[in-house]
Symmetry: C2
C-alpha cells in the first residue's frame, strides 16, 4: 500500500494495537489457544512483551480482544431479511477457510479457555442468534416452516450442523456446497421454500 | 482390590500396556492432544520413555491407541433396535462427563491431529453411523419419520446437535436432560413417535 502519512492522535499506540491483535489472531488460528503465547505474539507483532502486557493482563484477555477485533467491536448488528438470506450468509461464512479454522480453534479452546468462547458468544453470538431466531419465527408464521417449529431448537440444529460440517467436509467447500448442505438440513427440519409453495400451476394448453 | 496373582502369559508387558494407554487417555482428556506428551504419559504410567516408544512410534499413534482402547478394539458392533433405543443410548453417552470431555478433546484435536479423529471415525464412528442410518431408514419406512427423510442428513443433524450440546449445556446434564434435547431435535426433524400415532381414540361413554 506504500508509505502513508500517520493520522493524528496516538499513532504509535494504534499501530502496536493493530499489530498485536493481528498477531494474536494469526497465532490462535495457526496453533490454538493453548499453544499460542504472549511471547510469540510479541515477537510476531515486533513489540516487546512489556508492550503486550501493558494492554492485556494475560493471554486469555489478549485472545478475547483478538477474536472481538476480527468480528468488529462492537460487531455490526446483523440484518437478516429472511430464511434465504440467512442461508446464503451462513453458507458464505462457513465456506471461508480462515473462518473455518478460527471456528474449530474456538471450539477447541472451550475446554481450557471457556472465557474466550463465552466472550465470542456474548459479543457476536447472542445478537446474531436473536436475529436468526426472529427469522425462524417469521418463516414459521408465513408457512415456510412447520407450525410447531421451535426457533431455539432450529438454531441448535443449524449451529450444530455447522460444527459437524467443519470437521467432516473439506475446507475447499464452496459457498454453494455449504448452502446445499444447510438447505438439506433445513429441508429435513420441515422447510418448504415459499417459491415452491406459491408456484402457480402451469397453464394447460387448450 | 487387594493383591492378585498375576495371570500367566506376558503379564508385565500387559500391565505396562494398560498403564500406558490409561495414562495417555487421562492426559488427552486433561490437557488435550497438543499439550499431552510421551514424557508425561511415561511418568504417569510409571515406565520409561523407551518403554512407551517400543510400543508406539509417536504421540499420534499412542493417542489413537488410547482412544481405541476406551471404545474397545475392535469396538462391539452396535445394536440399535429402534429410534427410541437410539435416543436413550445416545443420551446416556452424551450425559457422561468424562465422555463429554473426551469428545470435546477429539474435536479440538482435529486441527493439528486429524489422524486421531480419522481413526476414531473409522474404528468407532463408521459402523455406528451405519447402524444409526439403518434405524432412520426403518423409522422412515414405518412412518415415524417423514417419507422424504434423508438418513445421512438426519445423522449430520443429530451428530451436530451433539457437538452443540457439548459446548452450550452443562456437563452436569442428566441422561433425561440430553434425551429431551435430542428428542426436540428429532421432533423438529419430523419425528412422530409410534405411540402417539397409534394411540387409539378414547372410548366415548354412551
Amino acid at each position: 500500500m506504500g508509505i502513508e502519512a500517520r493520522p493524528p492522535g496516538r499513532p504509535r499506540d494504534a499501530d502496536a494495537d493493530t499489530a498485536i491483535l493481528d498477531a494474536a489472531l494469526e497465532l490462535l488460528i495457526e496453533r490454538g489457544a493453548a499453544a499460542a503465547s504472549i511471547e510469540q505474539v510479541a515477537r510476531r507483532a515486533g513489540v516487546t512483551r512489556a508492550t503486550v502486557y501493558r494492554r492485556f493482563p494475560d493471554k486469555t484477555q489478549l485472545l478475547i480482544a483478538a477474536v472481538e477485533s476480527t468480528y468488529g467491536n462492537p460487531p455490526p448488528t446483523p440484518e437478516i431479511r429472511d430464511l434465504e438470506h440467512l442461508l446464503t450468509g451462513w453458507a458464505a461464512a462457513l465456506a471461508d477457510p480462515r473462518q473455518r479454522r478460527l471456528l474449530r480453534r474456538l471450539y477447541g479452546a472451550f475446554e481450557d479457555y471457556p472465557e474466550i468462547a463465552a466472550a465470542y458468544e456474548k459479543q457476536l453470538g447472542s445478537p446474531r442468534s436473536d436475529a436468526r431466531t426472529a427469522v425462524f419465527e417469521q418463516a414459521r408464521d408465513n408457512g415456510e416452516l412447520p407450525p410447531n417449529t421451535d426457533p431455539q431448537v432450529l438454531l441448535d440444529i443449524l449451529t450444530g450442523a455447522g460444527w459437524q460440517h467443519l470437521i467432516t467436509r473439506p475446507d475447499t467447500s464452496t459457498p454453494d456446497d455449504v448452502e446445499q448442505y444447510l438447505r438439506a438440513v433445513l429441508h429435513q427440519a420441515g422447510f418448504t421454500p415459499e417459491t415452491r409453495r406459491d408456484r402457480a400451476p402451469r397453464p394447460i394448453k387448450e
